[in-house]
Symmetry: C2
Subunit: 331 residues, 2 copies
């Protein structure tokens, strides 16, 4: 499994030199990192400025990724390309023109909602899912135009199916698993996964314990068997990793993700009042150094070398290549 | 009809000394003025600063209204109390704490949505109405707590019915008419009006031509007959005026109301591409000086003096008295 490029469809670590070195040790050529959960544009820009400082401090380990060619460059140079994404549309607020601004700032993925109703779509924790809103339809067209990949990881099912339908370009669910394997609210129905695959979209399979059968105690065999069944459902070329790794984050961060500023009560999301913090990672995926072992697990589950190369990073490479440029560049 | 206090439940004029003098000439003791359609908090605060300059320039004509007692003061002093309100929840964004901040800044009404889906509720122009969102439920509780009146004038029906149900304090529809009289999308069904009345809420009857049967050509007799039928439906103590007077506004203002920053297409709302601007006011209600004539119309339609006093301003007075203080002050 040496030399296989890893592209991870989502991480939100408490970034440090140690983690950047682990990315290299794990063979991660590119990672999509979250830079906003509830942040508005100004706050998101501050998060980009913090990344600019990291790029300046660790030029031998990381650099800002903008196109699929940066994955090639990263692999050739032994570095990791960092691609920005937002898990919410909070940075654009009610301003359609800010989608292009976000793209100009290097943001390549944007969820149409996080857990709650947004101005664009319904989140998976809402009691009702009214689908894509009036502004959402405008936003999808604009994201298609500028080359901002639409991510529906936290959106509700009907909104997701409508986004797939309305978008002229394939969309992504960067971090989630099939609900048929583990019926978490954040995991996705076969109907959604089938529609995603048929439209040429991508699913990033999650290693976040709340998305795993058995949680932190999930075995690598169970996970890799789920990957095999998802490949049967969607096609092996429609899946990759989206580990949702939240390494070294203090627990107040998960409280921020869930509660933002929208509630005076406490929302525990996928956790509970008794287990409000980040769950422990499974022993076989504690950090980025465990990717090679995961690829071995896929081989043990019967995947071909070609499929493993695709799932590890090749499929995301293809998605990045066709998703991040303006639609006018596409034939 | 001399000496009857007028309280207007909504205006959005291009404010000037001339209009402030017309308010006085019409006997308007208080008016709820819109200070935000799509403005965020910073922009809303700038609009308040502009009002602060008007209060400074015209102290003999207007002052900032905060409680029902300011209506008494205005009437005693021959001035007009200006109450602030927002036709959207855009000033609070995703931050529940900004509701109290808005109240501290003098804002006394806030719509849970304008025409589109908001973070709190669905607008009447959305194809789907999913009701009050998770954040919306939090916001209603917080508005109840601090004394921010909930206004559902532009919200969709199901959202409105849920807001009436969820709110512990009566809510308002500050500017709309019964759809049974004129089936405009912004006008309200008998079901909504009945629920509003039963909960002790208030309807401000609109004089905006798109809300009138026959539009700009609507007769005062038709309007006053509609008022009589609405009083039969809701009770005469549950209605007032909410003229929606947009005097002296340039047409780009109505384009801003409808399009904000959310669309690259043109949305014409209640107008059309052929008639995109503000419609002409009916001849019998061109500006605030026409209120006394309107009260004569109500008398001609058979209303008692007591009912006219209530509809003209007394009913809004009662609503203001019980709506703008903290819930802890209420028994």
């Amino acid at each position: 499994m040496k030399g296989i490029r890893i592209v991870d469809g989502l991480q939100y670590c408490n970034w440090s030199e140690e983690i950047f070195r682990q990315l290299r040790a794990g063979g991660v050529a590119a990672v999509h990192v979250t830079i906003a959960y509830h942040e508005d544009l100004q706050e998101t820009i501050r998060n980009i400025a913090a990344w600019n400082r990291r790029f300046e401090r660790f030029p031998g380990l990381i650099f800002a990724g903008r196109t699929a060619a940066d994955i090639d460059a990263a692999a050739a140079q032994g570095r990791t390309a960092i691609f920005f994404g937002c898990q919410n549309c909070s940075p654009i607020g009610d301003d359609i023109g800010l989608i292009e601004i976000c793209h100009q700032l290097g943001i390549r993925f944007m969820q149409l909602s996080y857990n709650n109703q947004s101005l664009l779509a319904s989140g998976c924790y809402e009691g009702e899912d009214s689908g894509i809103t009036r502004m959402g339809r405008q936003a999808i067209r604009e994201m298609n135009r500028v080359g901002m990949a639409i991510d529906m990881s936290h959106s509700a099912a009907r909104s997701t199916l409508q986004a797939i339908e309305l978008s002229d370009r394939p969309i992504a669910i960067t971090h989630a698993n099939p609900a048929s394997w583990h019926p978490a609210r954040r995991n996705k129905s076969d109907e959604v996964l089938r529609a995603l695959a048929e439209s040429g979209g991508m699913l990033g399979l999650s290693l976040y314990p709340h998305h795993l059968q058995g949680g932190s105690g999930c075995s690598i065999e169970s996970f890799c068997d789920m990957v095999a069944r998802t490949a049967e459902l969607m096609g092996a070329e429609r899946i990759g990793f989206g580990s949702d790794l939240c390494q070294d984050q203090p627990d107040w961060v998960v409280a921020w993700m869930r509660n933002g500023r929208w509630t005076r009560d406490s929302d525990y999301g996928e956790g509970s009042a008794e287990a409000a913090g980040f769950p422990a990672q499974p022993q076989w995926f504690r950090d980025n150094r465990d990717f090679p072992g995961l690829l071995e697990g896929l081989r043990a589950a019967g995947f071909s070398k070609a499929d493993i190369v695709g799932i590890a990073g090749g499929n995301w490479y293809d998605f990045f290549r066709t998703s991040f440029g303006p639609s006018s560049d596409m034939i």
